[in-house]
Symmetry: C2
Subunit: 380 residues, 2 copies
């Protein structure tokens, strides 16, 4: 396959954008990425989970092309909360095919126009409507089931699990795109309202509006740009949609498979990765990622937390940007993660990891029925 | 780019499938295509417009993979009523990239679980929510605006426009997958209830449940299959989402552009095409297609109707299957069209066009903000 690089990035702040429409958000992120790249895309891929429910608007491909004044083939791609990374991966395949040399992947979601209860119901459309939503399960409920089993089986304490949001809030203090810029303590997490036992408010990513975009180019075009960041691998895997049809709740099989394939394509191992932007939609999800991405044996992920290895300054920092905990505009999240890794590999991140050369993103759809794992390398 | 062929097809009957879920419909079409191909896909692309609104279910990629027992990367692709053709085209690009050799594109929509008024509102999410839906425009209204201007500018009579549904109902009488198997007369069309002046009930495609699938393969794999049908071109174009932002309402610019590119890639001209499965969501849309696909000068399309050239036995039969008029399960439609063309090029269609060797599909999203035009050639 042809070599591909990210040559432009852009994003909005995550948050409650009462004054901005879907169009406004996409325009802000898209224009920033186009300006950063200095290239005009020949194709556009739009990641969005549920504008049909959140805003009464499908056909997002045409909407975003319109908004950016791009008269190019434009396609919406959806895989629940992995929609962004899926759009990115389709853009990679489109360039790899030789049909295009420059493509844009843009994720956008406008979630706060619905009352919170309706937004929560809409988000459950990422799970199995017939087997999960219909019996009253919510997404915090899905991850609470996983957390309960994991805590019981692997003797993880509630305090240990709280170290994840504590770390991510600390990381996000300097992130100008984060929805929140305050630190929290273990005590704050344990005293925050119970959402779905054992998960509390500060274990959950927020409901966010936001958009993020990247411009991708084939090698010949990327060489003309400053600071190209090379896509060494972008792999995708699928597992059963409903939890009850999975082999094991404490392992996300799609993440294991996608990361194995990504490592193989990149010719790398976990020890070669300098940082990870991972899908911490709920605290437990980041802990599973330590293990399912191969940084720890199953059941031992908490050691990386306790020792500080996943903190900035540790051997494998997870979510130096603050992660989803500080903003999860679902269709944009996968591309927001890529923005953050690209900044790290360009050496200009808010929480710069010294000497970062190889970075990884991991984006989940639903409770892991879809996973995308990508590996990037800076040119420096 | 690598040569690609369709090596398997399958579809459900279009209709009101009260006893079938989204899963059931996808399973029936998918299993049929897999059996026809005799190959296992390495990737899956699911075309669906609005299961989030119609069935409370997003994440269709994982749902369909699950249903078919395929643990392969699976992605939902959406472009309103062009979702099916977009999924097909992404499958083509994925194979062209060299990453996969066999892929499946499957379209599915379950529309009849909502009351008709809610389904009509949901369908308008294919247009512009802010600029069109919010002022009360429906999709029949959108095409009625086009029809009024066209009839006035090019002196098309109401009776002449009615020849399109008359032809398509006649063509569909023998189609086992059609939602309706009865003929209608011009008088029937003119006496059917007014929906949006000048369009009447029999000018409109129905609300349908249904699914269709195709299996695609790279040349090396396709050569092992019986009756491969080669994809000579599959091109996509984008126009403004809202009618008011188009240059001209009587020409769908996206169709003109996509077809020009498709002819160029295939090295063919309109005279080389033996039949077309076109997007007759409303009668006027098929008339525009005669012209925008290059079979007639602008304003003269009706001559093809009056002379019978677009009928079976004419020089360029349009919708020998009966078209969308006899079933429009929106996310499945683009792939249903490909099923019909493949049957023609295999020589086994219900209304077989004698000597058919080269066929075309044209699939629209919304009122033409998205268009996909593909050209196929049989091996015989």
């Amino acid at each position: 396959m042809r070599k591909i690089a990210v040559v432009g990035i852009g994003q909005t702040k995550s948050g409650e954008h009462w004054g901005s429409s879907l169009r406004d958000l996409a325009k802000e992120a898209g224009k920033a990425a186009l300006q950063d790249a200095g290239l005009n895309p020949q194709a556009l891929f739009v990641g969005n989970m549920s504008a049909g429910r959140f805003a009464g608007q499908e056909h997002l491909g045409a909407l975003v092309a319109d908004t950016l004044g791009l008269r190019v083939p434009s396609t919406r791609v959806e895989g629940a909360c992995a929609s962004g990374a899926l759009a990115f991966r389709k853009a990679c395949l489109a360039i790899a095919s030789g049909r295009y040399d420059v493509a844009m992947a843009l994720g956008v979601e406008k979630m706060t126009d619905l009352p919170t209860e309706e937004a929560v119901t809409s988000l459950m459309a990422a799970g199995d409507q017939e087997q999960e939503a219909s019996v009253g399960l919510t997404f915090s409920g899905v991850f609470a089931l996983i957390a309960n089993l994991y805590m019981n089986r692997y003797k993880l304490s509630r305090e240990e699990l709280a170290l994840i949001p504590v770390k991510n809030h600390k990381n996000g203090v300097n992130n100008p795109y984060a929805q929140f810029n305050f630190e929290v303590t273990v005590d704050d997490v344990l005293k925050s309202p119970l959402i779905a036992d054992p998960l509390r408010l500060l274990d959950c990513s927020p409901i966010s509006d936001g958009s993020a975009a990247v411009v991708l180019a084939s090698e010949a075009f990327a060489r003309q740009c400053k600071d190209p960041v090379w896509v060494l691998a972008s792999e995708q895997a699928t597992d059963a949609l409903a939890l009850q049809n999975r082999k094991d709740l404490c392992t996300l099989g799609s993440v294991v498979q996608a990361s194995k394939e990504a490592y193989a394509r990149a010719g790398l191992a976990p020890k070669d990765i300098d940082l990870v932007e991972a899908h911490d939609c709920f605290s437990i999800a980041e802990l599973l990622a330590y293990e399912d991405l191969g940084f720890s044996e199953k059941g031992w992920g908490k050691e990386l937390l306790i020792s500080g290895e996943v903190c900035i300054g540790g051997s494998i920092p997870f979510n130096p940007s603050g992660g989803l905990k500080l903003g999860h505009p679902v269709g944009a999240t996968g591309i927001k993660q890529i923005n953050e890794v690209v900044k790290q590999l360009r050496g200009c991140a808010a929480n710069q990891i010294r000497g970062a050369r190889t970075g990884m993103t991991q984006n989940l759809g639903g409770s892991g029925a879809t996973a995308v794992v990508s590996i990037f390398r800076g040119d420096a």
